[in-house]
Symmetry: C2
C-alpha cells in the first residue's frame, strides 16, 4: 500500500520508513527537513513542508492509502513551557490533518501516541491500554486529546485510526540535544568526555524500547485493519541507575553522575503491558537492552 509518513525524517520516522520499505510498501515522506544522519533513500518520495501548512499537507496526501502521523513539534520535557503552542501546533494541526484526509476520502491513520505520558500516575504496573488516561503534562494531555478525537472520528466520520502508545524509544539516529531520550543523551555525552546529569535519585523506572522494534510494530499496525490503542514497550522496567550501570559496561568507563533535584512532573514508575500488541500482531520487543545500547553506542561513535 502507499503510505504517507508525516515526520518520516525524524528519529522514529526514519526507522518506520525502513520497516515499511522492508514490508514492500510504497513510501512518501512529509517532514520539515530531510533526514539528518542519512542521505535520501532510493525509492522514497520526499515532500518538505511544515505540519501547520495545510495546503502542503493536502498536496502530500494526494494518492496515498494510509497516513502515519509521527510528528510532534514539542517534547515531553519542554511542552509544559508553552501549553498554548503545544495545543495550537499539535492538536489543532492534527484536526486539520484529519479534515484534509476526510476531504480526500483517506480513512486509515496510525497515530504515534505516548505510553509514558497519557496514563499519568499509573494505578497498576505494567499499564494496560484500558488504564484511564490521566495525563499530568502538556505533552500527554495533547496526545490524549488527539486519541479522543480519533475515536470520535472513527464513530462519526468513518475514520479507521490505530494508535501506538510508545514507551521510551532509543537507538541510532536519535537526537542527543538533551531533550529526547536519556540513553542517546548519556551516550553522546560520555563519548564526548562530558559529565552526566540525573534529575532525582536515579530510581525513576522506564520501559525502554529499541526503535527498530517500535518501527516494526508501526509497520504491521498500519497495514492491518485493527483500530484503537496499542502499547508499545519492552514490558520490562529499568531504573536510571541500572541504565548507568549498563552504560558503564558498554563504554568501559566508570561513571559518576551529577544528581539534581527531581521534577514535580515525573512519573516514578512507568512500564507498559504489551500483551495486546503480542496477541493482535504477533509482535514483541526483540532487542535485548544491553545489545540495543551497544548498537546505539556504535552508532554514536561513528558520528
Amino acid at each position: 500500500m502507499k503510505v504517507l509518513v508525516i515526520g518520516g525524517c525524524g528519529f522514529i520516522g526514519s526507522h518506520v520508513v525502513d520497516r515499511l520499505l522492508a514490508h514492500g510498501h510504497a513510501v512518501k515522506v512529509f517532514d520539515r527537513q530531510m533526514e539528518r544522519f542519512r542521505p535520501p533513500l532510493e525509492g522514497v518520495e520526499y515532500v518538505t513542508g511544515s505540519f501547520g501548512d495545510r495546503m502542503a499537507l493536502i498536496e502530500a496526501l494526494a494518492g496515498v492509502e494510509a497516513v502515519m502521523h509521527l510528528v510532534s513539534t514539542t517534547f515531553p520535557g519542554t511542552a509544559d513551557l508553552s501549553p498554548t503552542t503545544d495545543v495550537q501546533d499539535n492538536l489543532i494541526g492534527t484536526l486539520s490533518l484529519l479534515d484534509a484526509m476526510g476531504g480526500l476520502g483517506i480513512s486509515r491513520i496510525l497515530f504515534l501516541s505516548s505510553g509514558g505520558t497519557v496514563y499519568g500516575l499509573p494505578d497498576i504496573v505494567p499499564i494496560p491500554e484500558t488504564h484511564p488516561l490521566r495525563p499530568i503534562n502538556s505533552y500527554g494531555i495533547v496526545k490524549a486529546s488527539i486519541e479522543h478525537y480519533l475515536e470520535m472520528y472513527r464513530r462519526t466520520r468513518g475514520m479507521s485510526p490505530v494508535v501506538i502508545r510508545a514507551s521510551n524509544p532509543y537507538g541510532p539516529r536519535q537526537g542527543h540535544a538533551g531533550v529526547q531520550g536519556v540513553i542517546s543523551t548519556f551516550l553522546s555525552r560520555l563519548n564526548a568526555g562530558q559529565s552526566i546529569e540525573i534529575w532525582g535519585d536515579g530510581s525513576v523506572v522506564r520501559d525502554y524500547l529499541h526503535v527498530t522494534d517500535l518501527a516494526e510494530l508501526c509497520a504491521r499496525a498500519v497495514a492491518s485493519e485493527r483500530v484503537g490503542p496499542y502499547n508499545a514497550g519492552s514490558g520490562q522496567g529499568t531504573s536510571i541507575r541500572q541504565i548507568i550501570e549498563i552504560l558503564a559496561a558498554v563504554t568501559g568507563q566508570p561513571i559518576q553522575p551529577i544528581y539534581k533535584p527531581g521534577r514535580v512532573i515525573d512519573v516514578s514508575h512507568s512500564v507498559l503491558d504489551v500483551s495486546r500488541a503480542r496477541t493482535d500482531f504477533g509482535w514483541q520487543c526483540g532487542m535485548p537492552l544491553l545489545e540495543g545500547i551497544q548498537a546505539t553506542y556504535e552508532w554514536v561513535r561513528q558520528q
Copy 2:
C-alpha cells in the same frame, strides 16, 4: 470575597451570580453581552468583552480573588461540527485565562465542566468522579483537556482549581433555541403550540438538575479550599419519555412527539454519583423534578 464570573450573564451564570450575592460575595461579571431576560443587577460590576480578548480579560481580572469560568462558546450538540473552533475558542481561551491569572497572582478558579460528556460511555451508573474520562464528542474532549490542564497547573504552578461536572441543568432563563436543553426547548415549543421532536426512541436517560441547585453548589465550592472534580446532579435518572409525561401533566395538554433517528454520539444512560459533593459541601439537589419543571413552565409563560 471578590469573584469574577466569566459567563455570568448566561443561563447558569446568572443564577450563580444570584447565589454569590446571597452568600455576601462581591461580584464582577465578564460576558459578551448583558443578561437577556433581566436588567443589570444592583451592586454587580459588569464588564463586556469576548472570552478570546486577552487584554479585556486581564483588565476584568484586576482586583479579584477568585474566578468562576462558566463560559463555553460551543454546545454539546454542535461542537462536533467544528472541533478546531471548539479547541481554539475554549481550550486555548482557557489556557490564556490561566496564564493571565498566573501573571496577576490569582490562584483560585472554579471551572464548570460537563458530567454528561467527559465520561463518555459509562462503565457504571451512577458515575463517580473517579470514572475514567473517555469523552466521545468534541464538547467533552475539550472539557476533559481543560480539566487535565487545571490539574497540571495545580501541580506545577500553584493554581487551586475546583471543577464542577454538571449533569443536565434546566430552569428559568435557559435559552430555548433547541441547542441547550430539552426541558426548556420542549416547554417553549409547547407554549407556542409547536410540535416536539425526539432523537431516538425516548429511552435516553439523563440526570436533570435545577439550575438554582447547581448555582448553590458552585457558590459553596468556589469559596472553599477544595480542589479537584465534583459531580453536580440530582443522582436520579429520568428518561425522555418520563420527561414528556411530566410535561403533559404540567402543561395540562396531551403530547404526541415526533420521533427521529437517534444520533451515534448519544450516551444512552447518564446519571451522576453526587456523594462527594454531599460529603464535602453538605450539598444535594433540593428541587424535585416536577416542581422544578412547573417553575420553569411558569417562567416560560411569562416571556
